[in-house]
Amino acid sequence: MEATVHDQHGHATDHAHDAHHEEHKELSFFWKYIFATDHKVIGMQYLFTGLIFLLFGFCLMMMMRWQLAYPGKPMPVVGNLVCSALNMACKGLGDESMQGGVMSPAFYNSLGAMHGTIMIFLGVVPLAFGAFGNFVVPLQIGAVDMAFPRINAASYWSLFVGGIVMFVSFFVPGGAASSGWTSYSPLAGIATTGQTLWLVGMIFLITSSLLGAVNFITTIIQLRAPGMTWMRLPFFVWAQFVTGFLLLLAFPPLEAAGVMQLMDRLAGTSFFLPSGLVVTGMPSVVSGGGSPLLWQHLFWFLGHPEVYVLILPAMGIVCEVIACNTRKPIWGYRSLVFSVLFLGFLSFVVWAHHMYMTGMGQKISTFFQTTTVIISVPSVIILSALFISLWGGSIRFNTPMLFALGFLPMFGIGGLTGLPLAFNAIDLYLHDSYYVIAHFHYVVAPGTLFGLFAGIYHWYPKATGRMMNECWGKVHFWGSFVCMNGIFMPMFLQGMAGVGRRWYDGGQTYEFAQGVIHSNVGISMSAWALALFQIPFIINFFWSIRHGKKVSDNPWEATTIEWAAPSPPPHGNFVETPEAYRGPYEYSVPGHPKDFTPQSQTA
């Protein structure tokens, strides 16, 4: 009881208490910024962790792009650095991975597997779900914090440990996991130690997501401010709500699969190892009787909803930014909400379209082709609604809006090229080709990432009270936009020419690929240029924390409740409990003096 009293009347008035208070503050730095339970601080922790891993995953890819563009040529400077670093961490590892700066096939596979894993589970999910979900959702629903602040912190730290484990796995004998981000057994079952660490890391990451999901859903159900009914929730909150359910229900099967693969590797079981396996020329001594397809089913049962975990938060952000910068309500809010719910549900029943080539019979293929095609309908509805929302607006082309607008056609390309891949028969030709790579990268790279950038620029003033530099923001956008297309557009052509993914030499071995592999150089150049265009963003981001233009609490003149809080919001978020009186996107309401009417405004 006493503690509560102290908290509520924390500002001691008499001088006798002041000294004590100062000391208390000193001590609490650690608790305030490291083991914080405030959702905004945790959101920032997620943001920085996510951005760092995003950059790290990108670096892995840039190294791979060197190998693809100039197969077998020593990588300048970086190659020898990586070699010595690996040699220092584990004797001989550098020589096996990067001898004289030349990448080895095993190391290439490691980079590929870890690029996928890191980008998805340590880059985009922490950013889209962890960072934006944590920072924005409680503010948007008018809550003081998340429902379980300590579980929130536990969720972040679990992710942190998982990230460390993944990072450390680069330096163990044999290097990091090299069986693809999908870790198909039996390949993953006979892989080196790195794979064990991958599995351990994944279990931490999954635990993090589960704790996060429980917290988010509970927060959205329980802590909505008075008057914040379900149909008054900003679309971003809806997207996070559905994402939470996807994580909650889709991740546990992968956790089970991870435990089983760990058992296969450490306890000699054969969950995913069939009878009669011949490993390196000798019959293996495991009991056998398992099924490699079981892993694929359990993996893709997560793997497909995971795609929507990556994309839904970005859609939510784009929706917020578009509404704000067209100065008009989102077109078809209800259909957006129902589409996203339907999408979430359907995403659980399409997983086997990743497994068309595993020997699928007519009945099962019919089912999964149908569901896969049906799932395109809500996606088309969402995208159309966002396009149509532009009509009749008064469009401001600021940086967040540019990124949000960039998202639309990029996600459109990514979505549309998913169509041919949805058909089983066409997969006979396009399976495992660069067409697939280009398709899903259009969804997550210029798609999701642009959404996330839009979010960072959009909510930056809320988090810091200052604006990021607009001019450099535009450089960042246009540079990224051009480079992204320079990277992924040629990949469609490579894929159409039959170039397969995960080929260490970029296709040199194959005659049919000779006509298109020269474009690898251009793709790689684009990738490195893309890196250059991130530099203004990084500088802008840190520079603006102290030197950005100071702005009011609601610089974009937006309607949703987070803009009613002070910038940056204090612990507890709102000065007084906000109340929602109307829907989230009441812009340019006829008869109102201003072109926006905040949700929390009484009249």
Binding site: T218, M263, V286, S291
Partner: protein, 284 residues
């Protein structure tokens, strides 16, 4: 700053936060065990009709399993009584009932580990012609080709529980002695001691009844192991409520009762999983 609805329910949902949270968490647990049960079904459907990997029926000791099921169901009742005592503001009764619940958990784990131990000390020798001889073996029963008898089996058990043998290059077994199990229907004692000698060249592999033995044991140990971790986790929470956590009863009794309710819900779930596990692993 206070987070609302930690103690009293929100009007429109009728729930306090932790209750929503625990139900969501249990939903994810259902998916976790659901995936493992699906694996069980798949492995069982795919298991061969004959041979070494045939699905063993009624291999586990049903009376012990039944007793353990009873222990767990009983603890489910006592945990409700513990919560009810708190609702009735009777802390002493709560302590008693929660204490019994914890003891039941301990008893369950104790019995389970005894069952595990029996499995780990029982061996199967898989012959190259496809037959399997099961029985008991001691370290000195394994004669290696080079050097004297070592703690070979036990050592390897730690690594992967499998002894390489037969024509493989790693084969180092000269022969093994195994005291086979009594064939069903025959006198148990008589057959127990007559050890059989099996030449290394006939052996494909030797394994104890650990998870490495066959898909059945793999899923048996994974399911019961994961369940045991859950029982242990539940016990940790219950012990906290029984011990240091009780402090909160004196400052915020309603919130403490809520906490006990949440812990109880988790405990029920753990019991429920066992109620599926028992028939699936012991009876079917």
């Amino acid at each position: 700053m206070d987070i609302p609805y930690t103690v009293l329910p929100r009007k429109d949902t009728g729930l306090w936060n932790a209750k929503v949270g625990i139900w969501l968490f249990l939903a994810s647990e259902v998916m976790l065990f659901g995936a493992l049960f699906s694996t069980y079904i798949l492995l069982r459907v795919n298991s061969p009709e004959t041979g070494a990997l045939k699905w063993p029926h009624h291999l586990l000791n049903v009376p012990i399993g039944t007793f353990n099921t009873g222990v767990l169901i009983f603890s489910s009742i006592t945990v409700i009584l513990a919560w009810a005592s708190l609702v009735l503001k009777n802390l002493k009764a709560f302590k008693w009932w929660m204490g019994i619940t914890i003891l039941c958990g301990l008893a369950f784990l104790g019995i389970k580990s005894r069952e595990y131990y029996q499995k780990f000390t029982h061996y199967g020798v898989f012959l190259r012609d496809g037959t399997v001889i099961t029985g008991h073996m001691k370290n000195e029963d394994v004669k290696l080709k080079e050097g004297e008898v070592t703690r070979y089996i036990s050592n390897l058990q730690v690594v992967n529980g499998v002894v390489n043998a037969g024509p493989m290059k790693g084969s180092e077994i000269e022969h093994v002695m195994i005291a086979p199990d009594a064939p069903a229907g025959h006198g148990h004692e008589a057959a127990e001691h007559k050890a059989e000698k099996i030449e290394g060249k006939d052996i494909a592999r030797i394994a104890s009844y650990g998870p490495w033995y066959s898909p059945y044991f793999a899923i048996y140990f994974t399911l019961t192991g994961l369940h045991a971790i859950h029982v242990f986790g539940g016990m940790v929470v219950n012990t906290f409520m029984w011990g240091p956590g009780t402090k909160m009863y004196f400052t915020n009794p309603q919130r403490f009762t809520n906490r006990v309710e949440v812990a109880g819900l988790f405990w029920h779930f753990v019991d429920l999983v066992w109620i599926f596990l028992f028939p699936v692993l012991y009876l079917l």
